[in-house]
Amino acid sequence: MILGLDPLYVGDFMGDLLVTLLKVVVAFVFLLISVMLMVWFERKLISDMQNRIGPSIAGPWGILQTLADGIKLFFKEDLVPDNADRFAFKLAPYLSLVPAFLVFAVVPLGGDFNGDDGDGVVTMFGHDTFLQVADPPMGILFFLAMSSIAIYGVMLAGWGSGSKYPLLGSVRASAQMVSYEAALGLAIAAVVLQTGSLSTHDMVLDQAAPGFSLGAFGIPNWNIIVTGFVPFVVFLIAGTAELNRPPFDLVEAEQELVGGFHTEYSSIRFALFFLAEFMNTITMSAVIVTLFLGGPAGPALFLPEGWWIGTVWFFLKLFIFLFMFVWFRATLPRFRYDQLMDLGWKLLIPLSLAWFIMLAGLRVGDSENWSTTKTYAFVLGFMAFCGLMATLLTAAINTARSERIKAMEDANG
């Protein structure tokens, strides 16, 4: 229980409580508004990528389209199918939505991380605090826990609908999310290994430290570079799958499953799923930024110093990933189900596991003062070993398959 508490709350309790409430409200409102803008941004950008115009009537450049859609959904009839398990059916949207909100609580949104004394602390009404709703010591584990709970939302929606297509969709969803969570967790483990802490604030602090410098240019100490890109790529792919976004949107494959797990949902309950989906996109981008791109850390460049530089950097980095997710959707065709499982189990999980072991080995080498030659030898040897194993495994699978096919052909004459 104590692990869930922000250490900053110890002391002047009431004052801190008020500051926390303020932060909660700000984060809540911010997230809702950004979801509204994200839906609009996605529709606008994807129509740009398809040579269309996109929403353009509600508000300037159609920016209020989401609001109009939301109001429309609000006034639609709320249906509960006869076959539905009513309790599960009604519970499911909230199980999707609430975790999406909660994950955002551990994301650092700003603060000055520059210089020697830049520790991201801002002073609000005389209270020192971080620009994030909470900084529990279990930090990033909270994110994993919440994204696991979101699976229940999808699963219960499919089960509770009492209809076959939603059930098929939710079975796919849970299989997909459970398998990709392993890769997701292993990619996070690499970052945790690097930081030595689970707290998101510590991760940002660690990445804000001056990194390796090449003459005048300092390469930032961001985890995307420090952990060697692979965990980042794995996390990005697994994260997209975890979000059920294209190209991993088998859960809602319209051609196969009608609407997927939310086929039977209408009105405000459907709106909640929709909201949760886009909120997850934003929080996932925020988590990627925090884990791999230094979160709010970044030099002041042309701007005057201040706590808000961090926020500017954070949104800049966040925006890159939001753009990327839409770009994925515009570009990549949907995976087939077996391809999805192959990618997750046969590529991402072994890859991230091997990479994690290698990073761990390098840390051992660091503490045992290996020479440069020995380090390189270890890395190359490990990679060669993994490559050999992968080749053998592929060969074994291929042989088994060809023999199976041959046996089948023989049996069929």
């Binding site: 740009d48 990528m49 398809q50 040579n51 269309r52 115009i53 353009s56 009537i57 770009w327 570009t331």
Partner: protein
């Protein structure tokens, strides 16, 4: 085995689209607020839209109630009943006139065969295609709505979304087929004036250069030729 670079090329394709022209336009169905864009795509010259029943310049109706259009109509959407003209106050310059003329736009397929069949070019098609209705009876246009007004222009009903140029070149199809039956399109202009716009000069190549375009093809002359 696919080239791994192909994946990146795919991303480049979608990214490049960001800077290309849009295929779609800013269309708001004629309900745009003041100053807001509301564009339709340009229509082809021989577009088949809502019909109009033409009149001569003196106000006489061209329709003679022969029912050829109704006979040729593959969708059976035209209903015509002719009646004898009152000698003292004729509706059309012939013996009979179209007493009832109705087109059911829930059936009409806009094939333009009625326009080809019409011996007097009484029926032509404008380029208006956007006229929706909320009940079946409204889908049946009667003579009151179809016949052109005193300026020779189509009546613009409040539920129709007329745009610039929708009433122009409505005889485009007849020019191509030559109402006189001459497949070479030779000789003088045998078609009546455009809706309220007068007669068009023949197009290049339409009459292989044998026709003079120095006027002289006013609707009155055309009519006298036809009558003679």
């Amino acid at each position: 085995m696919a080239d791994p670079l192909d994946y990146l090329r795919g991303f480049a394709v979608t990214f490049k689209k960001l800077f290309e022209d849009r295929v779609t336009g800013d269309y708001r169905g004629g309900k745009a607020k003041e100053g807001a864009p509301d564009n339709k795509r340009p229509k082809p010259e021989r577009f088949h839209g809502r019909h109009v029943l033409n009149r001569y310049e003196d106000g006489m109706e061209k329709c003679i109630g022969c029912e050829l259009c109704a006979g040729v109509c593959p969708a059976k959407c035209i209903y015509v009943r002719g009646a004898d003209n009152d000698p003292d106050d004729p509706t059309s310059p012939g013996e009979r006139f179209g007493y009832v003329y109705e087109i059911n736009y829930l059936r009409c397929i806009h094939c333009d065969l009625c326009v080809e069949a019409c011996p007097t070019q009484a029926i032509t098609e404008s380029k208006l295609f956007e006229f929706s209705f909320t009940n079946r009876n409204d889908a049946i246009y009667t003579k009151n709505e179809l016949v052109v007004d005193d300026d020779g222009m189509p009546q613009k009903m409040p539920w129709e979304d007329w745009r610039e140029g929708d009433d122009q070149l409505t005889s485009g199809w007849m020019r191509a087929t030559s109402s006189a039956g001459d497949h070479r399109y030779e000789g003088s202009v045998h078609w009546a004036g455009e809706l309220g716009y007068g007669v068009r000069a023949p197009e290049v190549g339409q009459s292989a250069g044998t026709i003079s375009t120095d006027g002289g093809n006013s609707p009155a002359e055309v009519r006298s030729e036809n009558d003679g």
